[in-house]
Structure formats: structure tokens, C-alpha cells
Symmetry: C2
């Protein structure tokens, strides 16, 4: 690991003061913004996430706001997922593809009302695509990045902590639904969602000025639940099969290759970009697909590039994320595997920078 | 400075093996790719850049390729700079704006032929904007990111080194022009350009497979010129007034605010996006503008956020990049200053994280 050179271009967040006070040790850069990844150590943070509750500065999940009479039409153009049944108050995971069906982002769409949406994005400047489409189609909609910074509360004690700060009704939010809650006289959207399998919430902090007051209130109320600052944990997200745009999928991949075919209602999502290409893919099926891959033997190094998945001398796939799992006592990994080798239990080998290791392809993830 | 967490999402480059062998100490992330910033130290690298010759892995200057009958039309839609007089073999610095005149990127356009262009981008996913516009306007053009990774040779000995590897005719390339040169039987575009004021070239390395052979050939031939690996140097680029997208300008700024009004031919660049807004700006003039700012007193810390520029209790601007200059023995900075205080020699104060320091606004940069 090397040092990261500071600059304004790698944007700080409204919670950076809290993150620094909590002793952040490592960052990644996500949407040109600092995303804290490590506080005590990746393994300590991992165990703690599964046992207690963590506060995550995920401001880097930037929002794209669509506002105006054509907001709903634009949102449906952007994704092959059929949005007709979606109600205000719901969050949908929506693959976004280009005209050839290549993944541009895999955000969560938040429907605030019929003519107002937020798109909570993964790591690519989706704003540029959305603005380009809105301009090219002369849609009557405003598209911009509002001053909204998500803060995640994740872990088994998340409900307990959140109810201390926002009241018991926060417990009633259903998965991928959101409600409006008051903090210091400000209305905040809170969703039951987040980038872990340990349960929790994402608070859409609308206005940088209340970011640190909210951080401090949660930290104080969380003392009795052993709260610590944390971040998306590489080990836990691989165990849970949570994909990462840019790591496990890129513009080269269709949603079907990413195992997201169930979110592509290409027959009914009328007007969506990429429909023709995805209809073809849906008909023929993908030739490679995301799989859980168990890598046997010693702990693997950090996966900072694709590792070939081999069947003897033939390449049959790539590993894109990998880590040693203390709980499962094996290396857990995410990769794409060709259809000849993607069945449950198929034996393969993975070429890591430290050598070739035996591995087994699985159809489901660990958590 | 914190550590950077490795992942595939922060892309390695075809030159990473060479960069690591050269002892890289710090990176930034640029276009979701690793950009080496420091080898020996920022100051050592700075002095060496001005005295000898450096090899820079600037793969992160990704290319967008436009190919097809509408390539030229699309290129002109993208920028308010009039491209009618531009010949194949020329490079143009082209501001790219949205419909409101907000800067989306400030790339260099490389005209390979009438129907084939590269856009060598700064730090934003301009590809998404270009693809969105091409799709929205149903243009007959292919838009993608080719496997082209620029390698820069910068410094006073750049011509000597390059002629050893590519022959003496490389010396004849004029500023912002390019030629085709052979390396190991491969045709490479080489331009006289680069992100320093020390002179040099950018080689558009077309095909990752020849990246390390070329790196090694240049390193070997460069021994007698004291070649070292380097990267865009913060101190030198501020002295030279080289702006950085994301640092010194963002989508909030017009080209006129960035001092790029001379690249906006809004009366003649027919069909360009943002024309209406920029005509208005050109007529009234901007109310704030990029300036060189000399910050007196002690060396300032790293500028990782906007620093207020004050006139007494009134905010009159922001500093976006700053560093101590060993050669000029003062802090050099780039910022935006309101028209009331942007005249040469105006005294202001800058609020750095370590306190308020006196400063002077200048109309021209140091180099």
C-alpha cells in the first residue's frame, strides 16, 4: 500500500472531521471522494461489524436528483427494471446500462414523489450520462447533484441505536423502504438499506451543516452499543455476495453476466435504453456469470487486478475481489466464470500474484 | 496522509510494474486509475523535473475515441472552441461544458483524421456525457475508451532522450502538433505536449503489450540524461498556472471564470452545447476569475479543500491549490477571486487550516 496524495479533487465529506477523530487508517477514492475503509484493521473492523454497530461515512454514494414533469420518464429510460409498480417511499436497486446493455452503474433509485427522484450511485459519473440523455431528448427535467451525503448505520445493534436518536418508529421501516424523520428540526430521509448483510439504515443527510451534529449524536448514543466508525468491509461484502461496480463489473458486462437478470424486465420496461441488446441477451443467456469462488490454501494477497481462473491451461474466468475470511477460514472471492465451469462445485485454479491455488466455484455466497 | 486501500476499481496501468520498480511513494486517483505523484519527494522530484528528464505514467489521461461520419460534428457539439480550422495532426485544448456553460472537463482533442478523434481527458467520466449526447442525437459515430495509455517525457532533456529512441525527426514536432513514429514495428502517435512547463512529449501508447518494452527502452536510453520516474508536480504546475479539473475548476464554473474565455468562440462554434449561456457570460463578463495568489509567510499545509480568500471580514474568493515553492521562496497558489479584488497586486488574506496569512493577487503566474 502506498500513500494517498491529498488534494481538493479527492473531495472531503461533511463527516471528514468525525472520520479523522475516529482514527481512520485507510481510504479508497469513490466518486472522486474519500471513502474511509479501515479504522482499527480490516479484520478487527469485520468482527466488530458483525457483533455491534458501526457508523459509516458513505457520502461518496452521491445523489443525482431528477426533478420535474419528465423525471419518471427519464428514470424509466435509464433502467431496464420495470418501475411502473414502484411507489413513493420505495427504494429499487436498478442496473443502468448503455445502448448495448453494458453496465454504467448499479445505483439505488429512491422515489421521493412522482416528479422527484434520487439516484444513489456507485462509482462512476452517472450524472454525465443522465444529463446527456436528458439534454439529447430535450426532457423537461432538472438533473443535478444535491448537497445530500448518506451516512450508514450498520450492524446487529443498528435498530437499537437508531431508535435512541430517531424514536422507536424507525424500527418499522421495512427493507428497501424509507420514511421521513426529524433531527434538530430537519426532515431526513432514512431507508432500511446499506452495503452489508448485517442489517441497518442509510440516512440521507440533506445539508452539510447538520452532518457533524448528527454524527456526534449517533456516536454519543452509540456508546452503550460499542459503536465504532467503520466502512464497507471487503471481507464481509464478499461473504455476502455484494457486488462492487468497477471491481466485479464494468461497462464490459451486461446485467445478466452480473447475475442481475432478475432486475431486467426488458419486455415491459417500455422505452428503456439498451432494450434491444438485453432482449437478445435474455433470449440466449450469458456465456459467463458472477460466481462465489472459494480459493483454497493460504491467505491470498490484496486483489488489485483481475486474477485468471484456469481449468488446466485454459482460462475460464477471472477473480475480481478476494480476501481471507476469518469466520469461514478460507479465502472468499467474487469472479466471473464461463458457463462450462460455473456449476456448483466445479474445481478450478486461480492464478494469484503469489502462485496458482486450487479453488471451487459456488452458486451461492457465504452469508 | 493516509494509506490507499488497493482494489481493482482503482485501476493499475500498463506501466505499473515500472512505476513500482522505480520506488513510487505516493499516488492520487485520477479517472479511477492510479496516478503516481511522488517518487523521491515532492521537492526532489520538482528540482529534478526542471534540470533533467522524467518519465511519467499518465495512463489516467484516458482517451475517448470518436469514429465515424458524425465524429467531427459531435466534437464540435462538445466544445465552444471553433474547430473549423483544425487540421489532422493538431491537438487543441478544448473546454467542454454542459448546456448551462458549466465545465465538465478540460481535455485535449487530438484530430487523427476527419472521422477519427481522441479526446485525452481530465478527471471526470466524460465518456458518459459524450455517449449520452451521441445517443440522444442519434449520431452516426462510435464512442469508446480504447486501450491507449499516454506516457509523458518531460523536462529540459526530453528532446535529447526522445531522439535516442525515436530518431532526430521527433525534434521537429511543433507545440501541440503530433507525428507518427515507429517503436518495435508499431505506429505510435507522439505529441509535443504535457502537464508541465519544462517542455516534452506525450506518447499515446496504443496497446498495453508494448507499454513496458517502451518504458524500459526510455529508461535505458535515459540513463545518460539522469532520467527518473516522476509525475505531474504540484509545485511546478502551480508556478506554471496549469489548472487542474476538480481542483481549480468544477462543474460550477464557466470557462470564462477559469480564464479560458479565449477558447470559447461562441459566435462561430455553430451547434455547440452551452452556446446560449456562454454568449451571455461573454457579454457580461464573469464576476470571479482564476488568479495566481502569492501567500506570504510560512509554508502552507496541503490544500485538500477550498481556503477562503478574505478582504477583512468579507469573503472575496477561494484558494484551490497551494504549495511552497523552493525556487520562488514563497507559497504559490491558484484560486478564484471576485472582480473587486482580482487586479494585479491586490492585498488579501487567505484562511489556511493553520491560520490566516497575508497574500497578494497576481494576474500572471510564476513560470
Amino acid at each position: 500500500m502506498a500513500m494517498i496524495a491529498p488534494s481538493r479533487r479527492l473531495r472531503r465529506t461533511p463527516f471528514s472531521a468525525g472520520v479523522e477523530a475516529a482514527g481512520v487508517k485507510g481510504y479508497t477514492v469513490y466518486n472522486r471522494m474519500l471513502l474511509p475503509t479501515t479504522f482499527r484493521s480490516m479484520v478487527e473492523d469485520y468482527h466488530h461489524l458483525k457483533e455491534a454497530v458501526q457508523i459509516w461515512d458513505v457520502s461518496c454514494e452521491r445523489q443525482i436528483e431528477l426533478r420535474g414533469p419528465d423525471a419518471g420518464r427519464l428514470m424509466q429510460m435509464l433502467t431496464p427494471r420495470d418501475l411502473r409498480g414502484m411507489l413513493a417511499g420505495q427504494c429499487y436497486y436498478v442496473p443502468i446500462v448503455d445502448e448495448t446493455g453494458g453496465m454504467l452503474n448499479d445505483p439505488v433509485a429512491v422515489k421521493l414523489s412522482e416528479d422527484r427522484w434520487w439516484i444513489s450511485i456507485a462509482d462512476s459519473d452517472l450524472l454525465y450520462w443522465v444529463k446527456g440523455i436528458a439534454y439529447g431528448y430535450r426532457l423537461d427535467v432538472l438533473v443535478d447533484e444535491p448537497d445530500v451525503s448518506p451516512l450508514a448505520i450498520q450492524g446487529p445493534r443498528a435498530d437499537d441505536l437508531m431508535s435512541e436518536v430517531f424514536g422507536d418508529s424507525v424500527r418499522d421501516i421495512r427493507f428497501f423502504r424509507f420514511g421521513h424523520f426529524d433531527f434538530n428540526g430537519r426532515d431526513l430521509v432514512i431507508a432500511r438499506s446499506g452495503y452489508s448483510k448485517q442489517g441497518g439504515f442509510e440516512i440521507y443527510v440533506d445539508g452539510s451543516d447538520i452532518a457533524m451534529p448528527l454524527w456526534n449524536a449517533l456516536m454519543e448514543a452509540g456508546q452503550k452499543y460499542d459503536i465504532h466508525a467503520g466502512g464497507p468491509n471487503l471481507i464481509e461484502r464478499i461473504e455476502g455476495g455484494l457486488l462492487s461496480y468497477g471491481n466485479d463489473m464494468t461497462m464490459d458486462n451486461t446485467p445478466h453476466e452480473c447475475g442481475l437478470g432478475r432486475f431486467c424486465n426488458t419486455h415491459t420496461a417500455i422505452g428503456c435504453i439498451g432494450r434491444d441488446a438485453l432482449l437478445r441477451v435474455a433470449k440466449e443467456g450469458p456465456v459467463k456469470q458472477i460466481r462465489a469462488i472459494q480459493i483454497h490454501g493460504d491467505a491470498v494477497p490484496a486483489c488489485d487486478r483481475l486474477w485468471p481462473v484456469m481449468a488446466g491451461s485454459k482460462r475460464v474466468g477471472s477473480v475480481s475481489s478476494a480476501a481471507w475470511s476469518p469466520d469461514y477460514k478460507t479465502n472468499v472471492a467474487i469472479g466471473m466464470v464461463r458457463l462450462t465451469h460455473w456449476d456448483e462445485g466445479t474445481d478450478v485454479q486461480v492464478e494469484t500474484p503469489t502462485g496458482r491455488q486450487f479453488a471451487t466455484v459456488h452458486e451461492s455466497f457465504w452469508i
